[in-house]
């Protein structure tokens, strides 16, 4: 009876130990593999960066799928924000995005911060990334490229001139005004050759000579 008890005890011990070790190994490799996969997915998906030009274009074209989340402080948001954006703190944005509401998943969410760092941080920490985008360069890029674009000079190539024209148009859409160029009136003077005036010399009245 005692030996039977001992053998059953030993058997159970072996089974539990193997489950433990196996489970431990399985968890270790599984978690590591999942982490590796997530890292590669993140690094391969460079398309999540949206340029300020692309964002401006989509706002101007009234794209209904855009959903802008401004991650700056509420003071900064009050001073100025991209039209249509909502303000969220980093903590609340993370909670809000991880809710994965169906309406939000259908949208193209653009994360906006002063530079790229905070937006990229929220992007990296969010569980579902398919619908998330990061405004490349953040508000700094928005100011530099859309609100106050660098003027193309006479020596600029055609592409630079075209880009400036597009950005200038976009900046005007977002409220920037440019002084109207002064159009100089070109007065076409009629060139008329002055008539030559040949003065007719008045004959001097000669004193009457002699007489009859």
């Amino acid at each position: 009876m005692k030996s039977k008890y001992r053998s059953s005890f030993f058997l159970v011990f072996i089974v539990v130990l193997s489950i433990l070790l196996g489970g431990n190994y399985w968890m270790k490799t599984n978690v590591l593999e999942a982490n590796k996969k997530e890292l590669i997915n993140h690094l391969e998906n460079l398309e999540h960066f949206m340029s300020s030009d692309a964002l401006a274009d989509r706002i101007i074209n009234d794209d209904p799928s855009l959903y802008l989340i401004d991650l700056r402080t509420s003071e900064e948001f009050k001073k100025y924000h991209i039209p249509g954006a909502i303000s969220l703190t980093l903590d609340s944005a993370l909670v809000y995005l991880d809710k994965e509401s169906e309406d939000l998943l259908k949208k193209d969410v653009v994360l906006i911060s002063n530079d790229t760092f905070n937006s990229e941080l929220i992007y990296a920490l969010s569980d579902s990334k398919e619908h998330l985008n990061v405004l490349d360069g953040g508000m700094q890029s928005w100011y530099k490229h859309i609100i106050n674009p660098k003027k193309a000079d006479n020596n600029s190539d055609l592409k630079t001139i075209e880009t400036y024209a597009t950005r200038k148009g976009a900046s005007m859409y977002f409220g920037v005004k440019y002084p109207e160029p002064v159009v100089k009136k070109v007065i076409v003077k009629k060139v008329t050759t002055p008539k030559k005036v040949v003065p007719v010399k008045k004959k001097k009245k000669l004193p009457i000579e002699g007489g009859c």
Binding site: L39, D115, E180, P207
Partner: protein
């Protein structure tokens, strides 16, 4: 005759196993939520500038090898970001942790380091730091500088308002070109000559 007492040691072993299982769980399985990582990153002690680098850091440059070869921080070790979770590298990071050194992650910029930071933090490392440096190659020359994070652009609303004002001023006051005064050339009166001769 089977008694209940036969199963009590088995249950005891199972209970012990469950308790010990909780203790020998791998570090990797620790549940570190995104909120934990966020709190950790927002802690300013995580960031290290160029001036703050010293011997207590093991610098890991996460750029690719060709970018690393063009230039890097002195004593930095190059591990391409996709390879940080290989067993060999994880062992190396564990050794660094044992030596009580900090792992300083640097890349093209601070944002580029974030995916690696997140994964290593999730894996269980606590000695992680982010280098707030910008490394790039311009005209075949390696350039490195400190990166100021979360710097606001100039006041955009103010810029827009001033542009509107400027445009209005220009509209109200068009440049008036003063007409050139006509040159007046006085005509000299001809002197009346005395009548010469006569009859």
């Amino acid at each position: 005759m089977k008694t209940k007492s036969n199963w009590s040691p088995v249950l005891t072993v199972l209970l012990l196993a469950i308790v010990s299982f909780a203790f020998i769980l791998p570090k990797e399985a620790e549940t570190r939520t995104s909120q934990d990582i966020l709190e950790n990153v927002l802690n300013e002690e995580v960031f290290v500038s160029l001036e703050g680098i010293n011997d207590s850091f093991e610098i890991i440059d996460l750029r690719n090898s060709s970018a690393f070869e063009t230039g890097h921080i002195t004593n930095a070790k190059n591990i391409y970001i996709t390879n940080i979770l290989t067993e060999e590298n994880l062992e190396f990071f564990k050794e660094i942790e044992k030596e009580e050194k900090q792992l300083l992650l640097v890349g093209e910029n601070s944002a580029a380091v974030l995916p690696a930071y997140k994964m290593l933090y999730k894996t269980g490392f606590n000695n992680l730091k982010i280098g707030t440096v910008k490394q790039c190659v311009q005209k075949n020359q390696f350039q490195i500088e400190n990166e100021q994070l979360n710097t606001a652009p100039p006041n955009i609303q103010e810029f827009i308002e001033s542009s509107v004002k400027r445009a209005e001023i220009m509209k109200e006051k068009p440049k008036s070109v003063a007409p050139k005064p006509k040159k007046v050339i006085p005509k000299k009166k001809k002197k009346k000559l005395p009548i010469e001769g006569g009859c």
